[in-house]
Amino acid sequence: MDYFTQQLINGLVLGSIYGLIAIGYTMVYGIVGMINFAHGDIFMIGGFIALITFLILISLGLTAIPVILLVVLLVSMAITALYGWTIERIAYRPLRHSFRLAPMLSAIGMSFVLTNYSQVAQGARVKPIPPLITGGYTLHESPDGFVIQLSNIQIVVVITTIVLLLIFNWLVLRTRLGRDMRACEQDQTMAALLGVDVDRTISMTFVIGAALAAVAGLMYLLYYGQVDFNMGFVAGIKAFTAAVLGGIGSLPGAMLGGLAIGLIETLWSAYFSVEYKDVAAFSILIIVLIFMPTGLLGRPEVEKV
């Protein structure tokens, strides 16, 4: 039981990271109707920028961890958001009214570009950093000596995710931009007729999605202590799986799907075999989709004749 609780905690932490990436997929899908295959690589870029900012700040002699974290968070969010914005302008906007496969292929192409750009610019080797946030709490100690640990880094990841989700929720539900986004999701043409700047709204969608992916990248860096050029692909498909599992287009669904994938992966690794954890995650995706073809929280598709 204690072992299970520990795995539950680990799974929820991993799930929050997936959830943050999945929101980017779901937002873009909801508004533009395309799968942004490069989103996983944007997450990877976010991790790299966080890493480099860390290095610079530490070598400048900064020691206050909260200050470092805040600066790194802001820098990586800002630069990664600019990546999201640029990618939308270059590779997706010209294809917005094209047939459906074209933006998908340009997104796949963009994903290759980002992966290999990062490899060329930063090398192929894994980049480790020393742990910044250490320590933790012992929640419970069973008689046979098993300890349930809650490390500080896990608390940081979960709290950051919750705070960001609250901000994000406020943004979507309470601000002008959020209203524009929801309007575009319903009907782009109608929204444009009613005075919504569709181009700007779509750009902002990519910017916000990329900024959230950057936070996920930073959390990944803090939690695992390393980044590499190749990590975007696997994390990307997992997060995409999470978005589909939750019902693509649904924001709470993306978070729920992220948590589900994180839990499945962690519990499977804990009780069965680590090697097949991805197989388990993908198999459950297929099984869920067979019985709920639009995901857990997705709206049923209406067939138009």
Binding site: L51, I52, T86, V120, V279
Partner: protein
């Protein structure tokens, strides 16, 4: 990285002010500066103790920003000069008619040229190897075309069937010693079975859901191959896969070999030429079967399914069998190609069956123009051939390839060959523009 919007291009055309152009270029350079500042400007490297060090690379950063600045001015001027006219409209109608006429000659000419490749380039091993590689992708493209181009089912995991075919042949041949000609149909059948297995769960899914499930399926197959070490050898792969024989006669330097039997001098090129004709035959078989099937009710059901699934069902077409046959047929050709790949390489490992391969084959199909057989062949030739041009620039190869995918899609989202011959016609054959062809919502 240039960021240019169409609206401002128009404004610039009327005003023709270089100041706005400079402003825009300056803005792009600024964006580039921020984008590249940390990723290019700072290089990190882990030392022997695992300690990360970094150093500045400001020269590279400055030159990249300068390239973006110059590039945006250049592209903007080019646009102003060319105007917003599409590439098609630049060609006068008479020339277009001439091109359409020669277009009909392209396919036969290409086929004759292909047949003669081993004769022309007999002594150039490199070109022969490249030709075999191109033909493998032509075959894969034609196979996937059945699923994506004809039936409109978006398959992002096609490489799974390629892998099934390759591993089927490799394992059957190394464990039981069966010959290539027995294993080839078996590999096709096994791949087709996997196609049906994938088809069943996804019957109810459409569009992007189908895409993610096929992607997941491809990854599952790859992960199983990597981890099921006792069967597949895991990451080490399977080696010592027997070479194909000419119906039992090996193509080697022994007394039983073909060269000895024919009484000619042995040359390793014989085997390459044989492999070339083998893959050519397999690819042509794929093409022939596809063209024949398209004229049969099943092929027309595929195309009807691509255009409108609801209408299909209303007309009484069984969408279940239609989808399953499309998956199975496409998968079977993938399996044949996989078996060929295994026998050509003599060694296979999971590294050859990544998502990148699936994306490459899908890119070939879409770039060729969905459903166009000639387009797929030309796309495979240009993609794989173009890919080879950058072999020297190892690290930059995929970078260039990714950019090519993006730019080609922006330039020609409908593919190289934008129209194709119709499957059925009333009195006169009229080419169908691909703008009228749906991409399939699965």
């Amino acid at each position: 990285m240039t960021v240019l919007s169409h609206e401002t291009t128009k404004a610039n055309r009327t005003a023709g002010i270089p100041v706005t152009l400079l402003k825009r270029a300056f803005f792009n350079a600024l964006v580039a500066l921020v984008l590249f500042s940390l990723m290019v400007g700072i290089r990190t490297e882990a030392g022997p103790t695992g300690q990360l060090t970094y150093w500045g690379r400001f020269g590279e950063l400055a030159s990249l920003v300068a390239i973006v600045f110059g590039g945006s001015i250049f592209i903007e001027l080019l646009r102003q000069w060319l105007g917003p006219v599409g590439t098609e409209k630049l060609v006068p109608p008479a020339v277009q008619r001439g091109l359409a006429f020669t277009g009909r000659l392209v396919a036969p000419a290409l086929l004759i040229f292909t047949l003669l490749v081993p004769v022309i380039f007999y002594n150039q091993r490199y070109i022969l190897d490249l030709a075999i590689l191109v033909l493998t992708y032509v075959m894969l493209g034609w196979g996937l075309n059945v699923v994506v181009g004809l039936a409109g089912l978006l398959d992002l995991g096609y490489v799974a069937f390629y892998a099934v075919g390759a591993y089927s042949y490799a394992l059957l041949a190394t464990n039981f010693g069966w010959s290539f000609w027995i294993c080839l149909p078996l590999a096709g059948i096994l791949a087709a079975l996997w196609g049906v297995m994938l088809g069943f769960p996804v019957l109810r899914l459409r569009g992007d859901y189908l895409a993610i499930v096929t992607l997941a399926f491809g990854e599952i197959i790859r992960l199983v191959i990597i981890n099921w070490q006792s069967l597949t050898g895991g990451p080490n792969g399977v080696s010592g896969i027997p070479r194909p024989t000419l119906f039992g006669i090996p193509l080697d330097n022994t007394d039983d070999g073909l060269a000895a039997k024919l009484g000619i001098e042995f040359s390793p090129t014989h085997r390459i030429v044989f492999l070339f004709y083998l893959i050519l035959a397999l690819a042509l078989l794929t093409n022939w079967v596809t063209i024949r099937l398209r004229r049969l009710p099943i092929g027309r059901a595929w195309e009807a399914l691509r255009e409108d699934e609801v209408a299909c069902r209303a007309l009484g077409i069984n969408t279940t069998t239609t989808k399953l046959t499309a998956f199975a047929t496409g998968a079977m050709f993938g399996g044949f190609a996989g078996a060929f790949f295994a026998t050509r390489q003599g060694f296979i490992s999971p590294e050859s069956f990544t998502f990148q391969e699936s994306a490459l084959v899908l890119a070939i199909v879409v770039l060729g123009g969905m459903g166009s057989q000639l387009g797929v062949a030309l796309a495979a030739l240009s993609m794989i051939g173009g890919f080879e041009l950058f072999r020297g620039l190892e690290g930059y190869r995929m970078l260039v390839f990714g950019w090519a995918m993006v730019l080609i899609m922006i330039w020609r989202p409908r593919g190289l060959i934008g129209h194709r011959a119709p499957t059925v016609y009333l009195t006169k054959v009229q080419a169908i523009s691909s703008d009228l062809v749906k991409e399939g919502h699965g």
